[in-house]
């Protein structure tokens, strides 16, 4: 083999995960920050988000650092990785929900259709009108099904026939047939899976173009989970979806792109910071990951 190939092979061979933090730091410095993706601008594959050096600090402790990657439009992007590596923190950056936590500070930029979401001139309330969110534990309001879905349009002042808006949103969440006769009943009377689909309908009602889902199925049974996964695949044609999930198989089933997160100790071995190790099409992540840490995770060698 020529030297060049040997070099390439050596470069490809992943470093074994080390416990000496200084080596990690050195390696990070050597290989650059978390995968810097700069796809050539491709009109056939526009990005809805372009994250640039996003870091989140809780009281000066970094929870995630230097996240830089694009999220593509009308695709499902999955964020996977073990617990505590910043996936939820990151997804909450995309709709400025971290603003609600006084101790949190966000640095970096999130470019959304040409605007930086964290520009001081941008109103976070406006951001959330365009980027919807579904939470891990279904959190319907203690109101009727109708009022739950109508709440968003009402508060943002959407014009139009409310009945139509509500019906469209509930249909979009594949829930209409089950609730059309009981729209005025209390939302708490529904099952967990139905409540979560109601929360999805609620998010759809404000006509966002992105839906963020933070472990939407982790509190649900397998049948409800399957229905919501089917729903996600349907929604993909209209909305861009980012999903955080603990369930690797779920990511493999539904997502187009997958980002694998891990957690690293800092220099003093005191703080844990989340990092993106690898970001690639889902097939590649699961069949031929480039980084050993990814491979260990997706094959179940580490939790």
């Amino acid at each position: 083999m020529s030297d060049r190939t040997a070099d390439a092979t050596r470069a490809v061979e992943p470093e074994p995960a080390r416990t000496r933090p200084d080596v990690h730091v050195a390696r990070e410095a050597a290989s650059g920050d978390a995968p810097r993706i700069s796809p050539p601008p491709d009109p056939d594959r526009p990005a809805v988000f372009d994250l640039r050096n996003i870091s989140v600090y809780y009281d000066a402790v970094p929870a995630v650092r230097d996240m830089t990657f694009p999220v593509f439009q009308r695709e499902i992007t999955a964020l996977i990785g073990p617990s505590g590596c910043g996936k939820s923190t990151l997804i909450r950056c995309l709709n400025r929900m971290n603003d609600l936590i006084p101790a949190a500070r966000v640095e970096g930029e999130v470019i959304y259709h040409g605007q930086n979401l964290y520009d001081p001139e941008i109103d976070p309330v406006e951001v959330r009108k365009r980027i919807g969110m579904v939470f891990q534990k279904p959190n319907p309001f203690p109101k009727s099904i109708y009022d739950n879905v109508a709440f968003g349009p009402r508060v943002i002042g959407m014009k139009g026939d409310m009945d139509e808006i509500v019906e469209r949103a509930i249909r979009g969440a594949a829930l209409w047939d089950e609730v059309k006769d009981r729209l005025k009943t209390n939302a708490y009377g529904m099952s967990g899976g139905q409540q979560q689909r109601l929360c999805i309908a609620r998010a759809l009602a404000t006509e966002p173009d992105v839906i963020l889902m933070d472990e939407p199925c982790s509190a649900l049974d397998p049948i409800s989970t399957a229905r919501i996964e089917d729903l996600m695949l349907e929604l993909k044609s209209t909305y861009s979806i980012v999903i955080v999930t603990h369930n690797m198989q779920q990511a493999a089933r539904v997502s187009d792109m997958t980002a694998f997160f891990t957690v690293e100790l800092d220099e003093g071995e005191k703080h844990r910071t989340g990092r993106v190790v690898e970001y690639a099409p889902t097939d590649k992540i699961f069949t031929n990951p480039a980084d050993k840490r990814t491979e260990d995770y997706v094959t179940g060698k580490v939790g």
Binding site: R45, Q73, G114, E121, I122, E126, R130, D209, S237
Partner: protein, 327 residues
């Protein structure tokens, strides 16, 4: 090589819908939401009312008190044994008011501390949940009865009763106005306060502590008295301190049942005028603003306020202490 961008061959052209996508509206600029800010300001003012109240109380008390001590030497006030501010010549010794306050408070504590703690221990450690549902409302009702009603009860029911059953060896029977009846009824009135706060403290003790003791073969009484009560001690003491504060600050019961004659004595069967009763009486007397009689009201009021303030702060700190430990 480190994970790079998506492989070109895997990049799929999105379907035609991408081309029919409508132009994206830019996000709105952050505009100062004046309505929200106004509301926040209004709500802050509401919260500030409480601060203004305290400031006003202090101002209302301090100014006449200082003026009072300009005319009456503080030594005379604190150590004098005659309280006759409206006589000529007036005497301003506050000790009779203090002895009456102490006597009635002491009698009340003799009732409310053991009974309040006992009720709390029973409710927390012994009572069946169904029994609790009946017993707790009884305590709530006791707490809700107006104090003037308690005063009436002490004067018209308890005093005659005490007079009837009074054993000879205890000396003279209680007079029509006496501090004993007032103190006893006050004790029952304060019982729910002590019981409820102590019960909170007792139920905050983790079940694991009890189970550890039961597991060693301790009896219910031993668990209650040697494990749970000591663990809840700061909360229990807080309830006692609050009880004392309420006893010291109570007006109507003593006004009705203990009489209006200042009496430098600790004998409960005699009448007495507490600090609070004096303030009420002075208020009824409608003293002209700025007169010495008017100012005595504030001087005694300051004494009362300072005493209860110290006890309240102590009680709050004790509660915080046990909350920190268990919550």
């Amino acid at each position: 090589m480190p994970a790079a961008g998506p492989d070109r061959e895997l990049m799929q052209a999105t379907d035609a819908s991408a081309l029919s996508q409508p132009a994206v509206r830019p996000l709105g600029r952050a505009r100062p939401r004046w309505g929200e800010r106004a509301i926040q300001g209004l709500l802050f003012l509401c919260a500030a009312v409480s601060v203004v109240t305290t400031v006003c109380i202090v101002v209302a008390l301090v100014e006449p008190t200082i003026s009072f001590f300009g005319e009456v030497p503080i030594g005379d006030f604190l150590f004098g044994t005659e309280w006759a501010p409206l006589f000529s010549p007036p005497s301003f010794g506050v000790l009779p008011l203090i002895t009456a306050t102490l006597t009635t408070t002491f009698v009340a504590l003799c009732v409310c501390i053991p009974a309040g703690l006992g009720a709390a221990i029973y409710l927390s450690e012994y009572a069946h949940p169904r029994a609790r549902k009946v017993l707790k409302p009884v305590l709530e009702i006791l707490a809700g009865i107006p104090t003037v009603v308690y005063g009436f009860f002490a004067l018209t029911f308890l005093t005659p009763l005490l007079q009837d059953v009074w054993p000879g060896f205890l000396g003279d029977p209680p007079q029509i106005f006496n501090m004993l009846a007032a103190g006893l009824v006050m004790g029952v009135m304060i019982l729910p306060t002590v019981a409820s706060l102590s019960e909170d403290a007792l139920t905050a003790v983790p079940q694991a502590l009890r189970e550890g003791a039961y597991g060693m073969g301790a009896s219910k009484m031993q668990v209650a008295t040697r494990i749970v009560v000591p663990a809840a001690l700061s909360g229990i003491v807080a309830s006692f301190v609050l009880g004392i504060s309420r006893a010291v600050g109570e007006t109507m019961i003593v006004l009705v049942a203990a009489g209006g004659t200042p009496n430098l004595s600790f004998i409960p069967t005699e009448p007495g005028q507490t600090m609070t009763a004096f303030i009420a009486a002075a208020g009824i007397g409608d003293q002209p603003t700025g007169s010495v009689g008017y100012k005595t009201l504030f001087a005694v009021g300051s004494t009362l306020f300072v005493a209860t303030l110290l006890m309240n702060v102590l009680s709050i700190r004790l509660v915080r202490k046990y909350r920190e430990v268990y919550e």
